[in-house]
């Protein structure tokens, strides 16, 4: 029993790291994503080109390679990160590529007519963005962001390879002392499931709270 409790506390510590990795990476990704989407939707052709290249390249590389390049590759130029930071940067960059497409689609889902109406009132481009486009685009982004959250959450387990002591690594550590792989890994799986399920529920409640009455929120899927 005592053994079980100590295992539990190790696993919970790992869960804490996993959640921190997920949230920080998503946050970093969201900030970059807004700029990438803005460049793609409103930027001059060359800005659009750079943003699109960034997004396509990051979407095409396995996350493990991104992590290895940042953690093992960058020290060649004297740039060193500890494993947690390297994992956040990798997951964040990769997620920014996907989130930018969610936000880009959401911005484009705001009808041209509304933009024209805003301009006809005398709003500047910046006012139109902040009062009309952005608030609607954020709403359109909520549903597809649930999906992105789930993907990043699961991909944090790859930070294992850099030695980040997240949920999976802590689980593996316990397995090495208990020889109960099925039990321990099942517990890890259950924790991922509970977090995903709980978050999905939470987001769908939030989505209803933010919904525009009478208006069906259209979303954009990760593709």
């Amino acid at each position: 029993m005592e053994f079980f409790l100590s295992s539990m506390s190790v696993i919970l510590r790992g869960t804490g790291v996993t959640v921190k990795l997920t949230v920080t990476s998503l946050f970093l990704g969201a900030i970059i994503a807004v700029f990438v989407a803005l460049a793609q939707v409103y930027g001059k052709w060359w800005l659009n080109f750079i943003a699109t290249a960034y997004e396509r390249v990051l979407r095409s590389i396995p996350i493990l390679i991104i992590m290895f390049m940042i953690f093992f590759g960058l020290p060649t130029f004297g740039i060193r990160f500890d494993p947690f930071i390297a994992a956040v940067i990798s997951l964040g960059l990769r997620s920014s590529a996907y989130q930018s497409q969610i936000f880009r689609g959401a911005l484009l889902a705001v009808s041209e007519g509304q933009i024209m109406a805003a301009r006809s009132l005398g709003m500047t481009g910046v006012q139109t963005f902040f009062h009309i486009s952005f608030p609607q685009a954020v709403r359109f982004s909520i549903a597809p962001m649930t999906n992105e959250f789930t993907i990043v959450l699961k991909d944090t387990s790859i930070a294992y390879a850099l030695g980040v002591t997240e949920l999976l690594r802590e689980g593996t550590y316990i397995v090495s002392t208990t020889y109960e792989p099925l039990l321990i890994y099942s517990m890890c799986a259950a924790i991922y499931f509970v977090i995903t399920f709980g978050t999905n529920k939470f987001v769908s409640i939030m989505e209803k709270g933010f919904a525009i009455p009478g208006y069906e929120v259209r979303g954009v899927e990760r593709g």
Partner: protein, 247 residues
């Protein structure tokens, strides 16, 4: 001084000349109606007047002020209201906020003043009771009346209507025309594109018949409907009367 003067307005898309050489003017309180087949450049013309579309040539004067040369077009747009065929209400805002956002954010009026102004104009279009609703909860006719209130709340010198009833079910057209009729009587200056010929005949001070990017002829409703100079005008209007007879 004329309220609006349009001189030799030109616009082309790629190799298509959409507006060839449009000239007309409007007096204060005048109701000027533009009719003509679709694809003729009517919407393009309206959008050129507040430069939602950049004209390629010509001159536009609003109260004598050059619109095309204006450095801050936003200042001029505040004085030209626009009502759209597809309403184009802001979906995420309540009816009140749709109408209030212009006075509040563009004119930067105090919130209480902007609210009062918005409510006053909602009363004018008979929708004060829907202030808290969202656009998606309204009928098409109500949406368009909010669109009109939104334009009115900026207290513009001129309101342009681009086929304001074309997207409406027939039974909802009346309520919108009723509001426009009232505005005309109140002395609002209105530039209207519409196919509602009965309404045109009743409220137009002057009519412009446009085709293929050109003004074919213009004049009073009596002249245009009863004694048009050009055969083309006659043919165009005939389609409508024939259509009515068939109905």
């Amino acid at each position: 001084m004329k309220l609006l003067e349009v001189k030799n307005l030109k616009k082309r898309y790629k190799n298509k000349e959409v507006l060839k050489d449009i000239s007309f003017d409007m007096d204060k309180t005048e109701t000027l109606v533009v009719i003509g087949p679709s694809g003729t450049g009517k919407s393009t013309m309206l959008k050129c007047i507040n430069r939602l579309v950049e004209p390629d040539g010509g001159q536009i004067l609003l109260n004598g002020q050059d619109v095309i040369k204006a450095r801050r077009i936003e200042k001029i747009r505040q004085r030209i209201g626009m009502v759209f065929q597809e309403f184009n209400l802001f979906n995420h805002l309540t009816v009140l906020d749709n109408v209030r956002i212009g006075p509040l954010k563009v004119k930067k009026l105090q919130k209480s003043v902007a609210t009062e102004l918005a409510m006053e104009n909602l009363r004018k279009v008979g929708l004060a009771s829907e202030a808290k609703s969202y656009p998606a909860q309204l009928s098409g006719g109500q949406k368009q009346r909010v669109g009109i209130a939104r334009a009115l709340a900026m207290e513009p010198d001129l309101i342009m209507f681009d086929e304001p009833t074309s997207a409406l079910d027939p039974e909802l057209i009346g309520e919108v025309l009723e509001v426009m009729r009232k505005l005309a009587l109140d002395g609002m200056t209105m530039l209207i594109v519409t196919h509602e010929m009965g309404f045109v005949r009743e409220i137009a001070d002057r009519i412009i018949f446009m085709e293929n990017g050109e003004i074919v002829e213009s004049g009073t409703p009596e002249k245009i409907f009863n004694a048009p100079e050009k055969e083309r005008t006659h043919q165009f209007l005939n389609q409508f009367t024939k259509f009515w007879r068939e109905k």
